[in-house]
Subunit: 308 residues, 2 copies
């Protein structure tokens, strides 16, 4: 079992019966150094190709466990027990594993599918309210790129899910996952449809690195910018854009952020979605209908100047 | 282009026209530190998912280039220009990429197939004779596990290939590659036939780490032990074993090595072929006919005591 200190504190009684690797919690530990620490521990524990790794935790634990499993002895089998809403609706599913590299988000990684993903909503009860809000960003993203009914339902009762109503949570997580799974099954390696899942992530990742925001809030802020770019590019109607921003606002997903244009431009230049002098940018045409457009870096930079 | 200092010195005129990443030559640099250096340089050079990496060099350059390509931004396309006999007949083909980890050979890696492998025998002319001898170990291995005719031809003129006769080299490299490619195509992920390619490598890798021998000589010494184990286990006739050892001897492939039983036993315990308390060990039944046997670690340790 690979987990972080926070999760281990909460579930030590259940986890201690397995050979256990624990590392410090937090995005700042999603690094190659932590992965090397895990290799060391795996060697100490005598792990071999017949070993099975289970990552128990949020997105960071899932990403690191999958990457370590993919690269230790050229690959062990592994699975996830996702303990945060963000991990349940997004990070645990799809087979993207990665670590950050010197401030660049998910710069080093591989595609590597887990054998199972376990999403137990009882695990969410121990989470601070902030973490549930954080997870709602990816739920809203999935609604925006693939399920307009889900968007309408969120709009109807934007804060009810925060009460952790069991039925509503189960339903919301399942619908959110269906969007993601449907897309990943069509295009695992992100050469076509899977790019949609990056909606809000170009600016979101930049902000996550620059301002140290939690992933969900950073992505939400990135979705706000992407919605505004969609309007500027004549793809999305202004009243629809306003509805989207209102929902993000009501959910508590639009933190007050200082938008540093020059830093943001620098970060965009090293985005993984860049090919040559353009960037594959995900725009919205309407709720549930994304579209990918090659936007030249120079144009994107002038948009950043306008919007920041 | 990713290459090492030795190769870059020889071919700088041809390589300088490409964005170039160079690192210090030698097995001791096949590490995660070198891979991190390559990530840094790729970021500096603005490499993105549309970039194509070409590793130009021997086995170390191929292994590192393939691993960096597999993990930078979750995977770039790549190819190899193999400049040593060892790389041409073995390391460049089959999609195994890896680096060493704190003295453990190829402990961290992934399966990742190159888009092309270029084996130009003119590149071998600049190699010291020692390097050709080193490459002959893997050629002999391929003969032993899959091409008895090749073994007989090597036996008939064991040292002629060292004169770098063009026709003979071409023929030998091709036949050697056919054995490897045939096996890899049947079983890329090493769950069945591909294990045969590890013939001589259990002890070979241990010796490479412990005594700092070049890969070919270490494997050759490992094949000697594996042949002796095959006889002890009643799989191989003594006269056939003697023929094999004679050929390795005549080729200059059996260096005088101090066999440290306790070190060897320790190394075997962390071999990647270990599953639980046994190790998948490749034995010979006759020339061209390998077989994989689960040998309990305790038995293997007592064999090491006998043979060392």
């Amino acid at each position: 079992v690979i987990t972080d200190q926070n999760v281990n504190k909460l579930y030590h009684h259940d986890l201690q019966r397995y050979p256990l690797i624990e590392f410090a919690a937090g995005e700042e530990h999603k690094t190659l150094e932590t992965v090397e620490f895990i290799y060391h521990r795996l060697l100490e524990l005598g792990a071999d190709r017949s070993s099975f790794l289970v990552g128990v935790g949020g997105g960071v634990v899932c990403d690191i466990t999958g990457y370590a499993a993919a690269t230790y002895m050229r690959g062990l089998d592994f699975g996830y027990v996702a303990t945060t809403l963000l991990a349940q609706v997004d990070a645990s599913v799809g087979g993207k594993t990665a670590v950050n590299f010197h401030g660049f988000k998910n710069m080093v990684g591989v595609f590597n599918q887990p054998r199972f993903v376990l999403c137990d909503i009882d695990l969410l009860k121990t989470l601070p309210r902030e973490d549930i809000i954080n997870g709602l960003a990816e739920v809203t993203k999935h609604a925006l790129i693939g399920d307009s009914d889900l968007f309408h339902d969120l709009e109807a009762q934007p804060r009810k899910i925060l009460d952790l109503d069991r039925k509503l949570l189960e339903d919301t997580i399942e619908r959110s996952l269906r969007v993601k799974i449907g897309i990943v099954e069509k295009d695992e390696r992100e050469v076509r449809e899977r790019r949609w899942l990056n909606f809000g992530h170009t600016f979101g990742h930049a902000l996550e690195s620059l301002a140290g925001l939690p992933h969900g809030r950073a992505v939400s802020w990135g979705m706000k910018l992407a919605v505004q770019v969609s309007v500027r590019k004549g793809r999305l109607q202004e009243d629809v854009a306003a509805r989207i921003l209102r929902l993000l606002e009501v959910m508590g997903l639009l933190p007050d952020v200082h938008c540093d244009a020059s830093q943001l431009k620098k970060a965009v230049r090293t985005d993984k979605k860049k090919t040559g002098d353009a960037l594959k940018f995900v725009l919205l045409q309407s709720i549930g209908r994304p579209v990918v457009e090659d936007i030249p870096l120079v144009e994107l930079e002038s948009l950043i100047d306008d919007l920041c």
